[in-house]
């Protein structure tokens, strides 16, 4: 058994309290933020130094054991579900900020540093780290890099890849490489752009050089209520057409509002069918000028109520409701799927109408929360897993929504990644030649397919409870299961 041989080598590297193999120790690692999938690893290691990570990867490579690096396990696409019988490398104890240079506005961090901690660490110098996924108080920078995470403010500032200047990583064969540096401009191919969002397939980030931004002088956060979801969608188009570039534009529909209200009492309007959150930010004079224009736009857009956050506390309350929405849906339904797709933002209203139609056709409630500014939809598909066939039905609906995104010229993922959940749809979004290229690149970097095997690229048996049927590429004979 390759794992037993690996285990005896790992035992020389780790003390027993950081090498977990007992059932009660490894069971809690079976799942991430998408509990429909589970995978039982053979063991979990908890390294405390980068050297231990490198040595662990080398040992896995020597013994042909697949591994999965994990931070806080908050993936919503099953990206951090363990490879069955593989090794989990828990990076949450690698949580040091190695270097911080306020003058050059960079911070070098270990992968287990929590997203929000970076901004807290640099706040005293008036700086912050821009990407702000809703799970910011929990998720790790390593995971953000692996999934190129976004957040409500990526409309203006871009995704994680736009904020990573340099990376030191260990490749799946144990070689340590450095990508990028400390400057935004580099020579040659954008290797950081390739690594960020590779879902752990290209190895593990050990040191991440982050770009920090000066905190905007002022924020002005607006909350507009609408009678219909499409009216809110139209308001987004009006703001975009006006040339304003807010820091964030978010929409929640009635069900999502209900969930958020139950969870955090954000005080959202009780009778609105949709809430549109817009945030202006920047120098005081600029925001003051933009505020007048935005107010007029919102007035003209048919909003039934417009509120402006009067202070920072109220601003945070507006956002807290939005950022709790995913988990809060747990109050409305025992089980749900958080879907993540993108449509061109000019077609938002059309996409929402179509989702509504699908929801009725399937007889399944769907709550909608989305990054309206960049067309990133997050339908929350509610079901009761105890009812036979409910999960399968919900997954079919989720699949139809993804197909809708593809048809409209969008994408099957905006920021959650493909993970386990959407592997089957990769082949619908890309031509076979594109997918073959992806496989070729992966095979060049990880010929043994050890790093997070089975995620994103549909070439290995997934530890799924639910079956999506044969993958389209399988049907075409392009790939086969191991």
């Amino acid at each position: 058994m390759p794992f037993n041989e690996l285990l005896s080598d790992l035992a020389a590297l780790y003390p027993s309290d950081r090498l977990l193999t007992a059932a009660a120790q490894i069971m809690p690692y079976e799942s991430d933020g998408l509990t429909a999938f589970r995978g039982r690893p053979s063991g979990v290691v908890l390294p405390v130094t980068a050297d231990e990570v490198v040595e662990t990867v080398r040992l896995c490579h020597r013994h042909d054991v697949p591994f999965m690096a994990r931070g806080s396990g908050t993936s919503l696409s099953g990206g951090s579900v363990p490879v069955p019988d593989g090794l989990v490398i828990g990076l949450n104890r690698l949580n040091r900020i190695l270097r911080y240079d306020p003058l050059h506005r960079v911070a070098v961090v270990e992968p287990g540093v929590i997203n929000l901690r970076v901004s807290e660490h640099v706040a005293a110098d008036g700086l912050y780290y821009a990407p702000d996924p809703s799970s910011g108080p929990v998720c790790t920078i390593g995971g953000n890099v692996a999934f190129n995470s976004g957040g409500v403010h990526c409309l203006k500032y871009g995704m994680t890849a736009n904020h990573v200047l340099g990376l030191k990583c260990v490749l799946p064969d144990g070689e340590v490489v450095t990508l990028g540096g400390e400057s935004l401009e580099t020579v040659g191919p954008d290797l950081i752009g390739m690594f960020a969002g590779s879902e752990g397939l290209f190895g593990i980030a050990l040191e991440i050089t982050l770009r920090l931004l000066p905190r905007p002088e002022v924020y002005r956060t607006f909350l507009a209520a609408y009678d219909t979801l499409s009216a809110a969608g139209d308001a987004v188009s009006m703001v975009v057409a006006s040339g304003l570039l807010p820091g964030a534009m978010e929409i929640m529909d009635r069900l999502a509002i209900d969930a958020a209200e139950a969870a955090v009492n954000a005080g959202y309007p009780a009778d609105a069918q949709a809430v549109f959150l817009v945030e202006l930010e920047g120098p005081r004079e600029e925001v003051a000028a933009e505020e007048v224009r935005l107010m007029k736009l919102l007035d003209d857009s048919g909003a039934t109520e417009i509120r402006v956050a009067k202070d920072d506390a109220e601003r945070l309350t507006f956002w807290k409701g939005r950022k709790s929405a995913f988990s809060a849906v747990g109050r409305l339904s025992p089980d749900f799927i958080v879907q993540d797709g993108v449509v061109p933002r000019s077609r938002l209203g059309e996409a929402l109408g179509e989702i509504e139609r699908l929801s009725q056709e399937f007889g399944i409630r769907v709550a909608n929360v989305f990054h309206a500014g960049d067309g990133n939809l997050h339908p929350l598909i509610m079901y009761d897993g105890r009812v036979a066939g409910a999960l399968e039905n919900a997954e079919r609906l989720a699949g139809e929504i993804l197909r809708l995104c593809i048809r409209m010229g969008g994408s099957i993922t905006g920021e959650h990644g493909v993970g386990l959940e959407k592997r089957a749809y990769l082949g619908e979004m890309y031509e076979a030649a594109d997918t073959r290229t992806m496989f070729a690149i992966r095979d060049a970097i990880d010929p043994k397919s050890l790093a997070n095997r089975g995620k994103m690229l549909p070439d290995a048996e997934a530890p799924a409870l639910a079956s999506h049927g044969a993958h389209p590429l399988e049907q075409q004979g392009v790939i086969s299961r191991m």
């Binding site: 069971m27 969870a263 988990s327 109050r331």
Partner: protein, 442 residues
């Protein structure tokens, strides 16, 4: 989270436990607010990890003895309930699970003895007082006493105050605004009787008549949270019988007791007293919440300015969601500047008998809390729970910065007594003495 817990087979608490598991979506928002995940950094010592383990045990996939070390390490602070967006009632899973585990788990003879000793002593003021006095005598020997017994001796205060019997009814001053019954707590009566005196004086000044029912016992929280369900039920039943119906509220001044009394319907689920327990729990309140809603007679300013850090007791802030009320009460006292403790949502490590059962983690959390408190530059600490007061005083002293630690009621009492003068004909100890420990003072 999907589960296959055989609800009927588990008994009356089965549905509540299954609901807690079913509500968890495994999102991980609990992780940063869990003191043990913070200290240990492993999934099985996190709320969602423990939920997963309890689910596996209840489903029959995991032997209970393999899971209990991680369940034992849970402080029961329910900080995760505050941070959970999905609304998982973690406490309603943990308490019945511990009771179930207690029936089947294997404990070492020493463990059994220590547990028996704690459960047969702490909840009974007379026995505890005797034990504490003997413990004081034994303190010089504590380095010779092995392990946890020695730790227990270390937590005893420098002085065991004399016991003074509380009156059965304490009159209100001025116009009567309310009539309440007070639970006086068990360990608190022995370690810091001045807290009860301060509480009844503050209530009295505010026109509240205080009844102290004679038949009352320990609230039972200690027993329930360590899995001794039978003992918890016995205490709950005694209190249901002892507390009168003709009062406006049943008050506590110890966060742990208040949280325990709110759990009576859970402890007595499926018992004949379940409905009575629900009504009882509905009338229970922390004294700070009651006074805040009643409206405080404006207290006079303290003689000197005092910078006070308010420490949220977990069983007040998380379990009873009482956060703003004590802060409002304290802010109403002139010359008090109230400051916040960074990462204040984290438990101080006291957590009932936790500092006896898991001394290492309790010690780590206690030191971190003491350092966070000192970081604020405060001159005193206020909180609403005797357990926290003991823990904070011990660890501030270990940091060699022994700041006074007051109960919220003690600071209010001090303010009112500035006006009335020390001898206003009110019985009870003359001064509101802050908790001090003497772990290193000798």
């Amino acid at each position: 989270m999907l589960h296959e817990i055989p609800v009927e087979r588990i008994g009356p608490a089965g549905q509540v436990m299954a609901d807690a598991v079913g509500t968890c979506v495994h999102c991980g928002f609990c992780l940063p607010t869990c003191p043990t995940y913070d200290a240990l950094g492993e999934e099985m010592d996190s709320p969602r990890g423990r939920i997963f383990l309890m689910k596996e045990v209840l489903e029959g996939n995991l032997p209970i003895d393999e899971a209990v070390p991680y369940i034992d390490r849970c402080l029961g602070c329910v900080g995760c309930v505050t941070s959970c967006p999905s609304g998982v009632e973690y406490g309603e899973l943990l308490t019945p699970f511990r009771a179930t585990a207690e029936q089947v788990r294997k404990r070492s003879p020493f463990d059994r003895l220590l547990r028996r000793f704690v459960l047969e002593t702490l909840p009974y003021p007379r026995r505890f007082r005797l034990a504490a006095l003997l413990g004081r005598l034994a303190r010089p020997l504590r380095r010779l006493v092995p392990g946890r017994m020695g730790d227990m001796l270390g937590l005893l205060p420098a002085r065991i105050p004399p016991s003074e019997r509380l009156p059965e009814v304490f009159p209100h001053q001025g116009q009567r605004r309310a009539r309440v019954a007070l639970l006086v707590g068990c360990a608190q009566q022995v370690l810091a009787p001045e807290i009860n005196w301060a509480t009844i004086r503050v209530l009295s000044v505010n026109g509240v008549e205080v009844v102290i029912p004679r038949g009352q016992t320990c609230c039972g929280a200690l027993a329930a949270h360590t899995g001794a369900a039978w003992q918890a039920r016995r205490f709950a039943r005694a209190n249901l019988a002892a507390f009168p119906d003709d009062v406006d509220a049943i008050l506590t001044n110890a966060a742990g007791c208040g949280s325990g009394m709110h759990e009576y319907p859970l402890w007595l689920a499926g018992q004949p007293e379940e409905d009575a327990a629900r009504r009882f729990a509905g009338r229970c309140q922390d004294v700070s919440k009651f006074l805040d809603e009643l409206g405080l007679q404006p207290p006079p300013a303290l003689a000197e300015p005092l910078r006070v850090a308010y420490h949220d007791a977990c069983h007040l802030a998380h379990a009873q969601r009482v956060r703003d009320q004590p802060r409002r009460l304290l802010r109403s006292i002139g010359n008090i500047e109230l400051v916040e403790i960074p990462r204040g949502e984290l438990c101080c490590g006291s957590a009932g008998t936790y500092n006896i059962e898991q001394p290492e983690i309790a010690h780590q959390l206690g030191s971190e809390k003491a350092r966070s408190i000192l970081w604020t530059g405060c001159q005193a600490v206020a909180t609403g729970n005797i357990g926290c007061m003991t823990q904070l005083a011990t660890h501030l002293e270990l940091e060699e910065r022994p700041l006074p630690v007051y109960h919220t009621m003690q600071l209010l009492d001090m303010a009112y007594r500035v006006e009335h003068g020390a001898s206003n004909g009110v019985p009870g100890p003359e001064t509101s003495e802050a908790a001090t420990a003497s772990a290193t003072a000798e």
